[in-house]
């Protein structure tokens, strides 16, 4: 007897989408994630659900991207925002060279209407500057287009929660250590990091959505899987410093961008083939300078802006070699390892955030076929949790006596769930208190997330509620969040302290590489609070430095 029809390995955008699709189709599903939902590649992306604009020479991909945007706006409109984007050109010739401009504007225009955006347009320098005065006035014209952005953390989490609500089992902090091709089922062994126990589960089929680790996972089953790993860095600024997104050519002719995102601005991205361990990579000085230097040409004041951190992730590209990264297809491949003599294992390579649902649909079709089950995909029709009627922020703020902005930010994360979070404060009015002062996050939302969204660490809470992602980078919320977490999960005093150190270490990973200017003062304050006041640097805790932390 097997435990599961499908065991999905990996809790990123693809893995959670697969788990959701399988669960919605009535397949008995287990999702295993070695860390937390959205804790790796997808958590370091810009959140753009792209029109596929850059891939105009792959029209099928553009079709797919556009269609997926339409679906996302149907199933998760509460976590989607639109950014208008300006792309300045210094010479008109740049636009017309080789017919490049007309190809992408034409391809974009064909699919604009279904996404609810206008076609690509051209704006004069004067018009462009009135929209974005930070632009370098030395330009010939701007190309204007619009893209949608989603909260990638919430998307993955909602997919996982929806899967769970439809019967799937979601296990985070469970790292797969072995795959045994027993018949008829496959046995997956995993180390549960929370219980420190080795466990196993049997499944008829395994879907390997391990992202950059997919090769390692396939190898456990004895299947070969080639991936072209490519790392990318983002520089994160403390607030929205531009009115609209800016897209421009980088020092090497690649496209980079500056996108307002949530309460921040993202500058990205780099693309470097990598053979490093995805777990320990941090943005390098070269990557940061490459981004700043490249953006400086179009936004000359960029270096005056406050950088709060960087994030670095690894793309699991389709293994097309001996060509530059941007020429590698942005499509995805489904690899049925039956051809390698390993049946029951299916892997992904490639793909983009916007395609995660499509990838899941395709693989679940294959899974169903292999299982001999007739199923119908509903993931493009059924709402994710929180997607629903408009939420009356002002009425809720008045009803609960909360700041309107706090409620509005809560709504932007949770849509119709907002009321359920606020309802907790009826019994506990003290939970209206602010935990994260920057985003902001109130205690009730933390409690709600802890009780309903299976976080185990403060870092998990960050992904669920954006805790500690603002200018102070956890300075004033870490100790409060740790206390709430300790109370809810019944942690010991020592665990409480370790939680704080772990979270601060995780923040440090992104803060350290770009640290300069105003952020130095911020860091002094952080260190003062946690070292000098809380004495966390003089505790006798069983804490091991993270790979990116410098030894004392």
């Amino acid at each position: 007897m097997t435990d599961y029809d499908v065991i999905v390995i990996g809790g990123g955008s693809t893995g959670t989408a697969v788990a959701r699709d399988c669960a919605l189709r009535g397949l008995k599903t287990l999702l295993l994630e070695r860390d937390d939902i959205a804790s790796a590649t997808v958590g370091t992306c810009a959140g753009m659900i792209s029109s596929g604009f850059k891939y105009y020479d792959e029209p099928d991909i553009m079709d797919m991207c556009s269609q997926e945007v339409v679906y996302f706006r149907r199933i998760a409109r509460h976590i989607i925002m639109k950014d208008p984007i300006l792309m300045p050109f210094s010479e008109l010739e740049e636009l017309t060279r080789g017919g490049e401009a007309s190809s992408f504007t034409d391809e974009y225009a064909k699919r604009a209407k279904e996404r609810g955006v206008p076609p690509v347009m051209f704006l004069s320098p004067e018009q462009s500057l009135s929209i974005e005065p930070s632009l370098n006035p030395d330009m010939a014209a701007c190309l204007y287009y619009e893209e949608y952005f989603i909260d990638p953390f919430r998307l993955c989490l909602l997919q996982a929660i929806d899967a769970k609500q439809h019967g799937a089992t979601i296990k985070t902090y469970c790292e797969v250590t072995g795959i045994e091709a027993t018949k008829p089922a496959k046995r997956v062994t995993f180390y549960n990091r929370a219980t420190r126990q080795v466990e196993c589960a049997d499944g008829k089929l395994i879907v390997n959505a391990g992202g950059p680790w997919a090769g390692k996972v396939a190898a456990m089953a004895g299947a070969p899987l080639d991936l072209r790993l490519n790392k990318g860095a983002h520089v994160i600024l403390d607030r929205r410093i531009v009115n609209v997104g800016i897209s421009s050519k980088a020092a090497d002719g690649r496209w980079i961008y500056l996108y307002p995102h949530e309460n921040t601005t993202l500058l990205g991205t780099t693309a470097l083939d990598t053979w490093e361990d995805p777990d320990v990579i941090v943005a390098s000085h070269d990557e940061i300078e490459y981004l700043l230097k490249s953006m400086e040409w179009v936004v000359p004041s960029i270096r005056q802006a406050r950088i709060i951190r960087t994030m670095e992730g690894v793309r699991p590209l389709v293994p097309e070699w001996k060509r530059s990264e941007d020429k590698v297809t942005r499509g995805y491949r489904i690899i049925d390892h039956e051809k390698d003599g390993v049946d029951g294992l299916i892997s992904f390579t490639g793909g983009k955030l916007v395609m995660c649902r499509h990838m899941a649909e395709a693989v679940t079709n294959l899974v169903s076929k292999k299982l001999g089950r007739e199923t119908v995909c509903r993931t493009h029709l059924d709402s994710l949790p929180g997607n629903g009627a408009d939420v009356d922020v002002l009425a809720l703020a008045a009803e609960y006596g909360l700041s309107q902005h706090a409620v509005e930010r809560l709504r932007a994360r949770r849509g119709t769930e907002t009321s359920a979070v606020l309802a907790l404060t009826k019994e506990h009015p003290e939970w209206k208190s602010t935990i994260c002062t920057c985003e902001p996050v109130i205690e009730a939302e933390l409690r709600y997330a802890i009780r309903n969204e299976f976080p185990q660490t403060i870092g998990d809470l960050r992904r669920r509620v954006r805790l500690g992602t603002g200018p102070c980078q956890g300075t004033f919320c870490t100790f409060k969040a740790a206390a709430v977490l300790a109370e809810e999960l019944d942690l010991s005093g020592e665990q409480y302290q370790l939680e704080m150190i772990d979270f601060l270490a995780e923040r440090w990973k992104g803060k350290r590489p770009p640290m300069r200017g105003g952020q130095l003062g911020q860091e002094e304050l952080t260190q003062g609070l946690y070292a000098c006041v809380a004495n966390l640097d003089h505790t006798d805790l069983p804490y091991e430095l993270k790979p990116w932390e410098e030894a004392a």
Binding site: M81, M121, L123, N243, Q404, H405, R409, T437, G470, P471
Partner: protein, 412 residues
């Protein structure tokens, strides 16, 4: 698609996404907000937080690290940012000099456009008055009544009337501000008397119009900019070299505008003008010849718009000038520089907050045993006077211009 059509389409998207582009002069304000490290020092000094608590007004640090980060969400901050009195105390104590008053104005400007319905009702009424009359106060319906009121105030203050004059090419424009023009007319008259006494070549405007500060504080940036532009035009036409005003708010706002829009004309508060341009020596001589209206024990209130938005030195000027007057003794209250609560237009929509702020000052003022309080701002004067009166205090509150005028010789 033509460029115009394209621009219209883009503008529609911007409006739909609630994006109101920063103006070039606002980019510096954004830069300033970025400096906040969330230390919270400002929270211990903010007079509004002290008066009503962080649940009602979340304070300057929350405006910097939270409320001002995402312009499309600014509409949702109306319940907080309209409670800032723009006193600038936070900017003074901030280790990074975060320019909170201007950040607040930048946020309000977007609320005003995104959700005019969320602008406090009391401010919408002021806005209508400004739109109708280009003045922050409704003007007198009957000019004769205005004159009668002026004369009554002059008589009460014991001051003679100096004829109004509009002279092209005069050295100085005396700009009384809306409050002294329409309400506290004795302040305007006292200033005219003082300028006249010292033989200053001054002119008034042909037609008084607002400097734009109230509109700026309401968030009506467009009106504020157009009022400033109109005033600038009048200043240019008159060809004056300096502007002198008796209003603290006008002083700081006109200084800001003059710098921002390159007017090329310096702006003085009357007390600055007296101390710096007339000189303490001439003042001293005049006071020696002046009337010896009984002994006065006076304490001072320093308007935020002067000491924090313009220069702390003005506070010294006030003391220096008062010290020249025979029979006048200045006693410090210890709260002279604490906000009167009347700024930021807070009193127009949340009187309870404004009064809670000034309540902090009342005890120490009474404790000085002074029988007088002087303030170089008609707005502060009115706010403190009303609140002192309500506590049963018999301390008389005077605008500094009136207090000085009364102590100059009436005939030369």
């Amino acid at each position: 698609m033509s460029e115009e059509e394209a621009y219209r389409t883009v503008s529609a998207t911007l409006e739909q996404e609630r994006i109101i582009p920063f103006k070039t002069d606002e980019l510096e304000v954004v830069r300033s907000a970025e400096k906040c490290v969330n230390c919270g020092l400002c929270l211990n000094h903010c007079p509004v937080v002290r008066a009503v608590g962080v649940d009602r007004f979340s304070g300057p640090r929350s405006i910097a690290v939270e409320l001002s980060r995402s312009p499309p969400d600014f509409w949702s901050t109306a319940d907080k940012v309209y409670l800032c009195t723009s006193c600038g105390t936070c900017r003074e104590v901030c280790p990074f000099n975060v320019n909170m008053p201007d950040i607040v104005n930048m946020v309000r400007a977007r609320i005003f456009k995104q959700r005019p319905d969320l602008v406090p009702r009391g401010l919408r009424a002021v806005r209508e008055t400004i739109a109708k009359y280009s003045l922050a106060f409704e003007p007198w319906e009957d000019p004769n009544e205005k004159t009668e009121s002026r004369d009554a105030r002059l008589q009460a203050a014991g001051l003679p009337f100096i004829k109004d004059r509009t002279v092209k090419g005069a050295e100085v424009l005396f700009y009384p501000g809306c409050q002294a023009e329409e309400r506290a007319q004795e302040v305007k008259e006292a200033a005219k008397f003082i300028l006249n006494y010292f033989g200053v070549d001054f002119t008034l405007l042909e037609e008084m119009s607002c400097c734009g500060l109230p509109s700026r504080l309401i968030g009506d940036d467009e009106t504020s900019r157009s009022l400033a532009a109109r005033l600038r035009e009048k200043v240019n036409l008159l060809g004056v070299k300096k502007i002198v005003t008796t209003c603290a708010g006008c002083t700081s706002n006109l200084s800001d505008m003059s710098v921002r829009d390159n007017w090329g004309v310096p702006v003085y508060h009357l007390i600055e003008f007296l101390a710096e341009e007339i000189g303490l020596e001439r003042l001293s001589e005049a006071f020696t010849e002046g009337s010896r209206a009984g002994e006065v024990l006076t304490t001072i209130h320093d308007p935020c718009h002067l000491i924090r938005h313009t220069s702390r030195q003005i506070s010294d000027h006030v003391i220096a000038v008062l010290n020249l007057i025979p029979n006048v003794t200045v006693v410090p209250s210890g709260v002279a520089d604490s906000c009167c609560g009347g700024g930021g237009m807070v009193g127009y929509h949340s009187r309870d907050v404004a009064d809670a702020v000034v309540a902090y000052n009342l005890g120490p003022i009474s404790a000085t045993k002074a029988n007088r309080l002087v303030a170089p701002c008609p707005l502060c004067t009115a706010q403190i006077e009303r609140n002192l009166f309500n506590t049963g205090s018999d301390i008389q509150v005077d605008d500094l211009a009136v207090f000085i005028a009364q102590r100059l010789p009436q005939e030369r």
